[in-house]
Symmetry: C2
Subunit: 310 residues, 2 copies
Amino acid sequence: MKYCIGIDIGGTTVKMALFTDAGEMLDKWEIVTRTENEGITILADVAESVEAKLDAKNITKDMIVGCGIGVPAPVSEAGIVNGSANLGWKYKEVKKEAQERLGVPVVVGNDANVAALGEMWKGGGMGYQNLVMVTLGTGVGGGLIYKEKIINGSNGAGGEIGHVCVNYGEEEICGCGSRGCLEQYSSATGIVRLARKRLAKDDAATVLRTQEVSAKAVFDAVKDGDGVATEIAEEFATYLGYALANIATIIDPQVIVIGGGVSKAGTVITDVVEKHYKDRCFFTNDKVKFVLATLGNDAGVYGAAKMILE
Amino acid sequence: MKYCIGIDIGGTTVKMALFTDAGEMLDKWEIVTRTENEGITILADVAESVEAKLDAKNITKDMIVGCGIGVPAPVSEAGIVNGSANLGWKYKEVKKEAQERLGVPVVVGNDANVAALGEMWKGGGMGYQNLVMVTLGTGVGGGLIYKEKIINGSNGAGGEIGHVCVNYGEEEICGCGSRGCLEQYSSATGIVRLARKRLAKDDAATVLRTQEVSAKAVFDAVKDGDGVATEIAEEFATYLGYALANIATIIDPQVIVIGGGVSKAGTVITDVVEKHYKDRCFFTNDKVKFVLATLGNDAGVYGAAKMILE
C-alpha cells in the first residue's frame, strides 16, 4: 500500500490529511499556524506533525508517493512564494524547503486553485475535467481546472476571479487598487455594501432593517420572499453572472462550482446566478452546469493530494 | 528524415505546408476551397493535393509523423465539427475522415486557436509558453495557449475573445445575439462603427471626413496626429484593454500577441492598447508583454504543424 498527504496551510490552521494512493482519505487532523517571526516555523511544524502521524500509523517514508501543499499566495511553477500576507512569509522556496524537511516529493499550489482541484476530484465538480470554481467568502477567490489540471498562470495568479472587472463605471476602489472588481459586489462584504446602499435609497419595508446586515441575512430574507433582499440578491447575481459569462467565453468550462461561506445559502445562490449568467453568456456556453461546492474546508486537502496523484 | 504537414482550411483557400519534424518549413502551397455541396469535396481535394506533393518530393507516408488541420469552426477533442458556415460543413468527423483519406495521424483544431499556437512557436510569441492571441480582422478572434498547448475548451469554443463583454450599457446587438461584445468595438467593422458615431457627434475637422472610413484610415490618421482619429483609436483601445485585462486576470499570460488585418497598423496599436490595459489590469499582470503577430497568413500552417510536433 502507498500513501500520499494533502496539506492546506491557512492563516489560522494547517489542515492535513492522509490518503491512500487510490484516493481514499484515511485520517484528517490540523495544527495551529504559527505566523510569528515571518512564519519561519510553519513548515517545520508541518513536518513534525506529519512525522508523528506516520510514526503512529507505522508508515515509512518510502511508502509515501508525495505531499501536496496549498498556500494562500501565488506560487511559481518551481514552488516558490514571493510573500504571503496571511502566513507572514516573504520570499520562500516552499517546495524545496518542504521536500528537505519531509523527505518526500512535494508539489505546491495556490490554495484557491488547489481547492478547485479538490472539488473537481471529490466534490461538486466530480466527473468533470474542465471547471471554474468561484469561492464567495470575505473576498472572492477562484480557480480554473482544465483537463484535470490547475491553470496556475505565469505568475501563479491564474483564476483571480475576484478581480475581474464587472462595472466600468464604479468609483469606489477595490482592495487591489482597481475599481469595479467582482469582489466589490459578490463577496460577503460586497453583498453587505450593496445592501447598505439599497437600504439607504428609500424606506421600503424589509426584514433587513431589523437586524445586522450580512450575506446570510440577505439570502435568508430572499427565501422568505423579502422584496428588498431579492433586489440585492439580483444585483449580486448580475455582477457574478457578468464575470462568469466572460470567464466561460474565454475558457469554455463544463461546470461552474460555487463555494465559500456565502454559498451556504444553497441553491438560492446557484439559481439566481445561473439566470443572470444565461442572460449574458456566449451561445456556445449556455449549457454550463452550476453546482454548489460540497467539500467545505476539506477541499484544500483533497486538492493538495490530487496534485500528487494526478 | 521525418516530415509533418500543416493545413489551414479557410473559406476561400486551403493553405498547406510541408515541414521537417525539426520544424523547418520546406514548401508551402494552396488550393481553392470548394464550398459547394456542403463542402463535401474539401477533404478529398486536400488529400489529393497532399498526395501529389509527397509524390513529387519522393516522400512516402511512413515518413510523415502526422498532419495538423485548422478549420474555421469549434472542434471537439475527438476532431468533430458541428457545422462551419465558412466551409458549408454540417456535422463532420474531420479527424476520422482526414485520417482515412490521408493515411497518416491527424489532429484537428479551431483555426484561431491553431494560429495562436503558430505565433507562439515561430511568430510574435516565440520563446513564451503562455499567451493570448487576439486577431483583429472583420471580427475579433482569439486563442489561448497555456504551457505550449491550446486551451480548446469543452465545446471547442475556448478563446472566443471577440465575445467577451466590455460594455454592459451597449444597446446595439452583436452578431452573436448578445450586446457589448469586444467585436462591436475593436474589429475592423467595429472601428468603422466607432468612427461613424464620432464623426456624427460634431463637426470637428479630421482627415477622416475626406475619405472612406476604414480601420487603416483611422490608424494612418492617428500617425499623422489627427485629433479625432486619435479619439477613435483611444475608444477602440479602451475596450480592447478592458477585455485583455480581464483575460489576463483569469489566465495570467506572459505575452499578448495582436494580429489580424487591423494590426498591420503596427506599434500604434500595441502602444495604445498596452496603455489602456495597464489602466485596468490586476497588479500581478502589469508586466505582460504586448507584441505584434509576425506570421501573417502563415500562422495557421505553422500552428497546425506544431499540433503534431508538440
